[in-house]
Symmetry: C2
Subunit: 331 residues, 2 copies
């Protein structure tokens, strides 16, 4: 989301929605309503460890990935590390760059997911769709489960990748599909045993690293680069081991400015003359737009982006163009 | 030309074309090629006197208008003040907010105008049109004059106001019309005698002020508010007392961003992705435009303007909207 986010300053480290808290701080706040801070763990890349530590001063457990190996090594490492401290632990994994509104609905979904996880299932929170989006993967839910503490829990039939528009429409109409937001809740023991069975080398790697952090730099680069969905969620779903609870809270991963516009609204100080769209200045300066419609204007201290909602997805080409022009300070 | 120019910082005080010199400095530089600095006089409003003095450190004659009374009182005051020092003087008046390229052609036109003025005519430099613009008034030239030193001087038949498009087309096709850039060259004695005849009260006012500057504040508000064109140029033309020399240099009053774009070109640092137009950041930051065509983006330290070349004329509505919103700091 250039110019708001940069390589060294990704979406989760910035106050992207103008709330006064960065997305990782919002995630922290949300979880602090459910568990004490000393039970929150963060896994992040080396480039962002310092910023995370600054933004979350009460954080006690920070796992720093030497390099990106996708989500299964990250979650697996945390699971193994927590498991070593508490073999009875139930963990939930949550991305730090999502925007969620509705604390009560979020808490209810997590509590239901914990109940399902306690029964030995791997639970996820499926976001109740608000439109036939083609930007997200979907979760197909099956039979109701009668797990105490989770009145809404259902088995997962299957995970499906981002659909085309017609398929998405069909998913919504069926009422059986929810958006996959990558939120997984499970016993560490259950996750690690699935991992041992499905990705044994990866399992052994994260368990070794958790037991002896001095092995991190040597072992980490050897871990299979794979997403948690592909590594365990999809195969377990086919075996009947996955459950889903509906997430009825408002959720967005703000993948582009069209989404951000919907979420945040324009700076009230913007002057629109025969014009409309979304405008935001992070440096409290004034934007004026004359004679353009559905336009997106973003101003930061060192850059201005001008585009349209329709072209918002192509903004990702800007950092590439800057890189090509050797202006890496702006990437 | 908001946000580049502001009420307290008009076009002539800023480096609008990215040349490194403000427009009044460029005007100064141009005249310094023709006459010594001690013979340059500046008439300006009280709000801009300090900035003028800073920008033109070698300026020796600064006349500060207590309030705006249009161009005839301003030029008349300067003429009377110079006449008091040198009754033989020939003066030329030039706006400080025009962009001119072609120093040799400008010098030649001024020299020819001085020759015409020396013969007792009031001379003007008519800009040779490059297109049938409806943004300028026109000068219709008549018979060739055979004044020594002005091989191209012609009598002026009439001055005409800004025409409609069809009329402008006709003017261009006829070859008899040039743009009125408000550049007048005349003996002070000739100008003052025309003024005494055509606007006697105004004449007496400026002569009194020139003789006794302590009368300025009392007399200035009583002076007729009138443009030099209407006060003397048009009536004198009908009497056969006006002459014109062709100004073949490149000239623009950069009335809008479309004109500025043509003159200046975009910042080379701008990233265009499926986009084109004109972009300039006065604070050396980076602008990126995605999916918009013929767009104009101007960034200053405290504002951003986004418009299109087509809508450039409507930018003047922005200061009004800011004023209405009580954000006078930006006006």
């Amino acid at each position: 989301m250039w110019p708001l986010s940069r390589r060294a300053h990704p979406k989760f480290l910035i106050d992207i929605d103008g709330s006064g808290r960065t997305l990782v701080q919002q995630t922290w706040d949300r979880l602090c309503h459910l568990i004490p801070p000393e039970r929150i763990w963060v896994v992040t890349g080396a480039a962002h460890a310092e910023a995370i530590a600054e933004q979350l001063p009460d954080l006690q457990h920070l796992l720093v990935e030497p390099s990106p190996r996708d989500s299964m090594p990250a979650v697996g490492w945390a699971a193994a590390a927590i498991h070593a401290l508490d073999p009875e632990a139930i963990i939930g994994s949550f991305a730090a760059d999502h925007v969620i509104a509705g604390a009560a609905a979020f808490a209810d979904a997590v509590h239901q997911a914990v109940a399902l996880a306690d029964s030995g299932l791997v639970a996820t929170i499926g976001i109740t769709p608000t439109e036939p989006s083609t930007a997200f993967g979907y979760i197909e839910s099956g039979e109701m489960l009668s797990v105490p503490g989770s009145p809404d829990g259902r088995a997962i039939t299957t995970f499906v990748e981002k659909p085309d528009a017609a398929t998405a429409r069909h998913y919504i109409d069926s009422g059986q599909f929810s958006w996959n937001a990558g939120m997984f809740v499970t016993r560490t023991e259950v996750l690690l045993s699935h991992l041992a069975r499905l990705q044994p080398a990866l399992h052994d790697g994260v368990v070794t690293i958790a037991a002896d952090p001095s092995t991190l730099d040597a072992l980490w680069p050897t871990l299979t680069r794979i997403a948690i969905d592909h590594a365990i969620a999809e195969p377990i779903a086919l075996e009947g081991g996955m459950a889903v609870v509906p997430g009825t809270f408002s959720w967005d991963d703000i993948g582009d400015f069209a989404a951000l516009a919907t979420l945040r609204g324009s700076d009230e100080s913007t002057i629109w003359i025969d014009a409309d769209g979304f405008a935001a200045a992070t440096d409290d300066t004034t934007i004026a737009v004359v004679g353009l419609h559905d336009v997106v204007v973003i101003r930061t201290p060192d850059a201005v982006l001008v585009t349209t909602r329709e072209h918002a997805q192509r903004v990702k080409e800007v950092p590439a163009a800057l890189q090509a022009a050797d202006r890496t300070d702006l990437v």
